[in-house]
Structure formats: C-alpha cells, structure tokens
C-alpha cells in the first residue's frame, strides 16, 4: 500500500482513536488484509501527515505511547470560549447511569441498560470516564467480555464522601423524599437548578 493510500486511513484512525496509537498498534490493525502495509510504510505516512498539518489548527503529535491529533495550543484562547459560551450540563440519562454505577458496581453497560430499560450511549460512559468519576474494573467473563465499571476515588472526593458506604440507601432516599419535596424536574426531565437547603449534602 503506497503512502497516498495509507495516509488518509491513518488520518481517520488517529482522529477516531481515543488514545494515542503507536506504529505497532497500527501495524496490527492491518494484519490479515490483502494490502498490508509494513511498519516503514506506516512510519512514512505518519511523517507525511505530521508535515501536512504543520500550519493547521490541529497537529499530529508524538507522545509517550504513540501519535495523536491534538488542538494546537496557539488556539487555546478561542477554543476555551466554547466552554464559556456553553458550560456543560449533565443529562438526566447520564445522572441515572452514574447513579447505577455508584450503587451497583461492578456493573456492565448491558446491565445498566437492562435496569434503565433504555440504551446507554457510548458518549455517556466516555464523559463519565473523562471526568474521572468512572473507571473500568476489568471484563466480565461472559460472551462479548463486557467492561465492568465502577466509581473512582475522585468520585468520592467530589461528593465529599469517605466511602461508598456513606451514600444514602434507597430506603433513606425515599424517606428523605417525604420531608424534602425538592427533587423537581421540568418537562424535559432536566433537573432544575433549585437546590435544597441541606448544605451538607449538596455542596461540591
């Protein structure tokens, strides 16, 4: 495979991957193909890609575990405005997923879907992992070897908990409802900003 053909494939791979990719990892992806590029072909195509992006808003950058696309830091000012303009908000679906991971860990995505009765998007899990609230604990040894998820130390820290044990039980949550009718949802199922006065629970 010549590098003109290989280059856009690698470009697609680097852009899609959520981790840096090494030459070896890329080589492995092609094993079994009729047109299988050698490692030197891959190195050459990477080299060309790095040059191709030399004057662009993104760059193909080498880090410890391989190459990845990243935003050029020259453009930080503008990129940061994207967040100022639209501070992130978590959907109801994401909160339910997080709650199930917290209360039912170790749990697979399929199990979450079974309980929720609704499919869980890949993005949701990704957001929780990027926030470092959720991590993979390994794989369940059933067909498909699904990933088992659990919460992290950072999750506990964020919610000011010493251990999972401090999370209220379902019975306690329901009791709380009776005294505290403040869990309000608007029509779209979004949690309203209204906070309860019990300061010890909600502050972050």
């Amino acid at each position: 495979m010549n590098s003109d053909k290989l280059r856009p494939i690698l470009e697609a791979l680097f852009a899609a991957a959520d981790k840096p990719l090494s030459v070896n990892q890329i080589f492995e992806l092609f094993v079994g193909d009729i047109e299988q590029p050698g490692k030197d072909d891959i190195r050459q195509a990477i080299h060309e890609l790095v040059e191709q992006y030399e004057n662009n808003g993104i760059e193909l950058k080498q880090v410890a575990s391989g190459f990845r696309f990243q935003i050029r830091s020259d453009y930080e000012t503008w990129v940061a405005r994207l967040w100022e303009q639209k501070p992130p908000r978590y959907s109801r679906a994401l909160m339910e997923t997080l709650a199930l991971i917290a209360y039912r860990q170790p749990i697979t995505r399929g199990e979450i879907e079974d309980i929720r009765g609704v499919s869980v998007s890949t993005n949701m899990i990704k957001t929780l992992q990027e926030r470092e609230w959720v991590k993979s604990l390994g794989h369940k040894e059933v067909p498909g070897r699904p990933t088992l998820y659990g919460t992290t130390r950072e999750f506990l820290d964020y919610f000011n908990l010493k251990s999972l044990n401090q999370l209220p039980t379902l019975a306690e949550i329901r009791d709380l409802d009776q005294f505290n009718p403040e869990f309000q949802f608007d029509e779209n199922g979004e949690m309203t900003a209204k906070e309860v006065d019990s300061a010890e629970t909600d502050n972050v």
Partner: protein, 267 residues
C-alpha cells in the same frame, strides 16, 4: 384448520424449522413448531397489522384485494397459538380479530349492484394496512441511513494542556440520589427487574477485591481479611468474595487440600 395451514405452507415456506409428527395437542396437528421457535416467531411481530401484512405477503396477495375469509382464518389460528402458549396477548390483537370477523360477515351480505369502492367493507382495513406498510418501510429506510456510532464517527481530538480552567458540569449528591431513586422506581414497575439492595459496603468491597486481583495474578484469600476491621469487616469481605464468585467475576484456586487458597480474575 389443518387444510388452511397445508395450503399456506405450500404457497410459501414457513420461516423456521418444522419437526414432524410430535403428538402435541398444539394446533395444527400436522405441523409441529417447537414452542420456543414459535415464541420467537410470534414475538417478531410488531402488532396485529404487522402479522396481517405478513400473512398477506407470504401468499403474494395484492394488498388491495385481500381474501378476507382466508386471512381471517389464518389470523385466528395465530391468535389461538399465542393464547395456547400463554403469551401475553395484547388487546390490539383481539380488536383486530373482531374487526376481521365483522368485515367477513359484512362481505357475506349481498350488496347493491351499484356499490362503489367506498362501500367495500375492506376499505378501512386496506387503508390501515397500506399506511402501516408505508411506515414500516420508512422505518427500515431510516434504519439504513448512515448514522453516528455506526457508520459515522466523530473525531476524538485531544485538547492541549490549557492554562485556563474549563468549566465542568456541577452535580449535587441530591441529583445523584434522585436519579437513583427514579431509575429504581421505574425498574420496579417491570416485575422482571428487581434491583437488589446489597449494602454498599459489600459493593465497595467487591470493587476493592477486583482492583487487587486485576493487579496481581494470584492474591491470597487471607489477604482480603484485615484483622483490624473486626468481625464485621471480615463478614463484608467474605460476602463480597461470594458475590463475585456468584457473578463469575473471580475464581478461587487451591492446589491441594489445606493448601493456601488464592483468588484470581476469572479467565
């Protein structure tokens, strides 16, 4: 009854394996369908219109010219099978059955010679079948469009190390609790999903055990018990290990009787 089935089978094949000669009371007698297969087959229908469309298509009948008596008969047989299998039969199937019966009876009555199409008792049924077929097709077309997470992927491009702190979504523990309460309440409406309520200390211990065995190949069973935690701590560890065993997430290994027991990730 058997005759209709024989007819339909000869016109087009049934879509699953047939096992002959099983002395089952299940109708029709010359055509035994394993109950499991039948269940899957019947559950594949999205409703009475879907089932009717299937019956019509299978025999290559023009939808505009439905032989109501024959189709009604076949339809009733499927309903009967669902009933025999104690499938929870949606009320819609019965409504359709009575609609078919009514059309059939009206068609048996003589009609004035000057009748127009609108007087055809089948008109309403045909309209509904056509409309349903139209959207069944639309759903298939929609499903075959390129879409995110399947054919279309978005790039994952790393942000540089920002000097600026990007705002993060804020979440309160109340949000988390109410989300949990809602999801459990919803799950409980469906009897099949009871969210068990082990104490969280066990869940937490399960995670700790998993983390440790993922790090090492073999971890001594004894290492999961810390005397300083007292009896309660030991019980929690023990239950956590049993729970992990039950869920086939770990296995216990012992070389010979009385040798040390090791815990390892299930492989």
């Amino acid at each position: 009854m058997e005759r209709v089935f024989a007819n339909s089978a000869s016109q087009s094949e049934m879509p699953f394996a047939l096992v002959q000669g099983e002395p089952l009371t299940l109708i029709p007698q010359d055509l035994y369908i394993p109950p499991d297969a039948l269940l899957v087959f019947l559950e594949a229908f999205e409703g009475p219109l879907d089932l009717l469309l299937y019956l019509i298509k299978r025999q290559n009948i023009d939808i505009l010219n439905i032989p109501v008596a024959a189709i009604t008969k076949q339809y009733m047989e499927y309903i009967q099978m669902m009933d025999n299998l104690e499938l929870e039969l949606a009320a819609e199937y019965l409504v359709m059955a009575s609609m078919l019966a009514e059309i059939k009876s009206r068609m048996l009555l003589p009609r004035p010679a000057e009748s127009s199409d609108e007087d055809d008792p089948r008109a309403e049924l045909i309209r509904r079948l056509q409309e349903y077929e139209q959207f069944k097709k639309a759903a298939e077309d929609l499903d075959s469009l390129d879409r995110l997470e399947r054919e279309i992927h978005l790039p994952n491009i790393e942000l540089p190390e920002f000097d600026i702190d990007l705002p993060q979504a804020q979440v309160s523990i109340n949000d988390l609790m109410s989300a949990f309460r809602d999801v459990v309440n919803r799950a409980e409406q469906f009897a099949s999903h009871h969210v068990e309520r082990e104490p969280l200390s066990v869940r937490e211990r399960m995670v700790i055990v998993l983390e440790r065995i993922n790090a090492d190949d073999f971890t001594g069973f004894i290492d999961f018990f810390d005397a300083s935690e007292g009896r309660m701590g030991a019980v929690v560890s023990f239950i956590a290990i049993l729970e992990l065993l039950k869920e086939s997430l770990i296995e216990l290994v012992q070389a010979e009787p009385f040798a040390p027991i090791y815990v390892k990730a299930k492989s």
